[in-house]
Amino acid sequence: MHGAPQLVLLLVVLSDLAVLGTTRLSSCIRIVAAQGMLLGLLPLLLAPQLSVHTVSLAAGTVVVKAIVLPWFLMWAIREAAVRREVEPLVGFIASQLLGAVAVALAFAIASRLPLPVVQHALLVPVSLATLMIGFIVLTTRRKALTQVVGYLILENGIYLFGLTHAERVPFLIEIGVLLDIFVGVFIMGIVVFHINREFDSLDATRLRELAD
């Protein structure tokens, strides 16, 4: 089964780069939903044998990351009637190049990390790349909703890294983490909804009244 996890991980990186290049908010959310689906598949592909633990973790991840959260964010878009992202603080071409650099950095760092046993050689570099790209999206986009998408990608990257310890971190903790992320994005979505109501736009760069 060497090929299937590799394919999934490659698709994860491609989806990261795709989020960096797309302007439509709905595309961003759909790509992250697809990413959540891929992430849900990974524990099933990486585990030597299927246990209740892995199956329920996979199911929980798919439900939260691929179905509930994207659906909720789509609702937020509809409410806000926002379609497109405006030119980000870094520029689309620059952010794509930054993303490519981040992927290169991630692979370089991962090759130096002393990891004793990993299920798949690509797991750590892809997790670091996803992390960095999530951070890039979070910090360089103007629309508040895209920042939430960036946060989701960041969490996906950390989740990927957590898969290297899939057997060692107990089930309860993983459920707790999933739940936290769910509630976090839920609250963020509510705040985004209110931001749109108050400011009539989702442009986070307009939030500038408080300063010293």
């Binding site: 990390l113 002393p114 990891l115 004793p116 046993v117 992390l131 951070f135 979070l138 508040a144 920042q147 946060y151 960041l154 969490e155 950390i158 890294f161 957590g162 290297t164 310890h165 060692r168 971190v169 107990p170 903790i173 707790g176 983490v177 936290d180 509630v183 976090g184 609250i187 963020m188 705040v191 209110h194 931001i195 108050e198 400011f199 986070a204 939030l207 500038r208 009244e209 408080l210 010293d212």
Partner: protein, 479 residues
């Protein structure tokens, strides 16, 4: 059993409040909050009398470090609830259900953080505290609080995500080492066998991640906005209790680093963050016009002092623990008094408030005394803890750190005094009438002030014992 109750009772009550339709509407069930707070404090007191056994197979336990944070949280929560009785008569939140539910969820999450010995569970609790406080910041539903909530959410979420990564790094450090993964006693027992590269990376990420929650510079940018826009009693809880919980996260990983013999790496980093926080606080306090933002920067300063004490080692760790208690109580005190200010005049800025001594005499006195307390003047408790930190700096052979500390504290005192004295003294603006200060509104702050005053003069035996044991666990010693 008691440990599970400490976390479970507030959580169950929170769920009940948030779900049952009988609680919908604007009325806040203060009586229920009071009952839960009293029960919680009673349970915590019982932990001081008779130690509780571990729960959940070692995942929950009350060690000296956690007990200190838990006690401060519980006391602050009870005082805040009593204050809320008076506060809510003047200013009702739009949703009493959300208000009460989030407060209870916060208490439960903070208890979880204090008692957690499984570091991933600590993380879950920490994230829960972040999320439970967010709706409370947003209580006024206006543009400024919305902006503050958004910044808080984004920055805190990134910080917490980094902390999660750090937790996973810690698990990586434990690969091929005996012991249950991420369980603190096992980590400490086998600390010397942990993989040093992963451990160092974990320390850095956990420090930055939990430091963001604490409000260490340079990750503190959310603090002034959040403390400034949230209702004062929420800011007080955050400044006193939430920062303590976040500090606990940093302290736990420091424990592991000390046990692993990596203090040479950890201490300079901690000292660095501490000094940067002091400098940032001093820089931004000058010319500050809003009391709550001023207190936010003061909180940054005190977080810097906490981390500095950890980094200095020796008696500095005892100083940090003592400072944790003192800071928690005094921040609660000053924020609650500021709440009175806001209730009376509608704002906490210098422009809107002058001559407080005539309009709100008791609050004005408490505010001025609070100024002295928070800036570390004797006879208040913070003087003792800061003095201990100075001693630690000189003991460790770094007198220049003591000099920087003193300079920063002096600048901060000047900045704070300018604003607070300007508010308290002078002529009130025309048209402002003296406001009746109900006992509910001042009883809490007076109690906290008395406690801080007492800690400046005399530290009760059991408290001293617990703080000293916590200091030893962190690689230092008692005085």
């Amino acid at each position: 059993m008691r440990l599970l109750a400490l976390c479970g009772i507030p959580l169950v009550t929170a769920l009940v409040v948030l779900v049952l339709p009988v609680f919908r509407g604007r009325r806040v069930p203060v009586a229920l909050l009071g009952v839960v707070a009293a029960v919680h404090l009673a349970l915590v007191t019982s932990l001081w009398v008779t130690p509780a056994p571990e729960a959940l197979g070692g995942w929950l336990a009350a060690d000296p470090l956690g007990l200190t944070v838990l006690t401060v949280t519980s006391v602050l929560f009870l005082v805040t609830v009593t204050y809320a009785v008076g506060y809510l008569r003047h200013d009702r939140p739009r949703s009493g259900q959300v208000f009460a539910g989030c407060l209870l969820a916060f208490l439960s999450a903070a208890s979880l953080v204090a008692l957690a010995h499984h570091l991933a569970m600590l993380w879950v609790g920490m994230e829960a505290t972040t999320l439970s406080v967010a709706p409370l910041i947003f209580l006024r539903r206006d543009r400024r609080s919305l902006e503050a909530t958004w910044k808080y959410l984004v920055i805190s979420s990134v910080g917490i995500a980094l902390a999660l990564l750090g937790t996973f790094f810690l698990a990586s450090a434990q690969v091929d080492v005996a012991g249950r993964p991420l369980v603190l006693p096992d980590l400490l027992a086998h600390a010397r066998e942990l993989h040093p590269a992963w451990l160092r990376a974990a320390f850095l990420f956990l420090l930055v991640g939990f430091g963001t929650k604490m409000g260490l510079a340079p990750m503190h940018t959310w603090k002034p906005d959040t403390y400034g826009e949230a209702p004062s009693l929420v800011s007080g809880l955050m400044a006193g209790a939430l920062t303590g919980c976040a500090f606990l996260g940093v302290a736990r990983v420091t424990e592991v680093m000390m046990a692993a013999g990596l203090e040479g790496f950890a201490q300079p980093v901690l000292i660095g963050f501490g000094l940067v926080s002091l400098a940032a606080a001093a820089a931004f306090i000058i010319g500050q016009g809003d009391v709550k933002r001023l207190l936010a920067y003061s909180s940054v300063e005190h977080m810097g002092l906490l981390v500095l004490g950890l980094g200095l080692g020796g008696v500095g760790t005892y100083g940090s623990m003592l400072h944790l208690v003192n800071n928690g109580l005094s921040k609660g005190w000053v924020f609650l008094v500021t709440g009175n200010l806001v209730l009376a005049t509608g704002s906490a800025t210098a422009a809107g408030n002058r001559g407080l001594v005539r309009t709100l005499p008791v609050s004005a006195v408490l505010l001025v005394l609070g100024l002295f307390a928070v800036t570390g003047s004797p006879p208040f408790g913070l003087f003792m803890s800061e003095f201990t930190l100075l001693r630690a700096a000189i003991d460790a052979g770094h007198p220049w750190i003591a000099a920087v500390m003193l300079l920063a504290l002096a600048v901060i005192f000047v900045g704070m005094a300018a604003l607070v004295l300007g508010i308290a003294l002078g002529e009130p603006p025309p048209g402002v009438v003296p406001v009746r200060e109900s006992p509910w509104l001042v009883a809490g702050p007076i109690a906290l002030a008395a406690a801080v005053l007492m800690l400046g003069v005399y530290i009760p035996g059991p408290l001293h014992d617990v703080l000293a044991r916590a200091a030893v666990a962190l690689g230092g010693r008692g005085p």
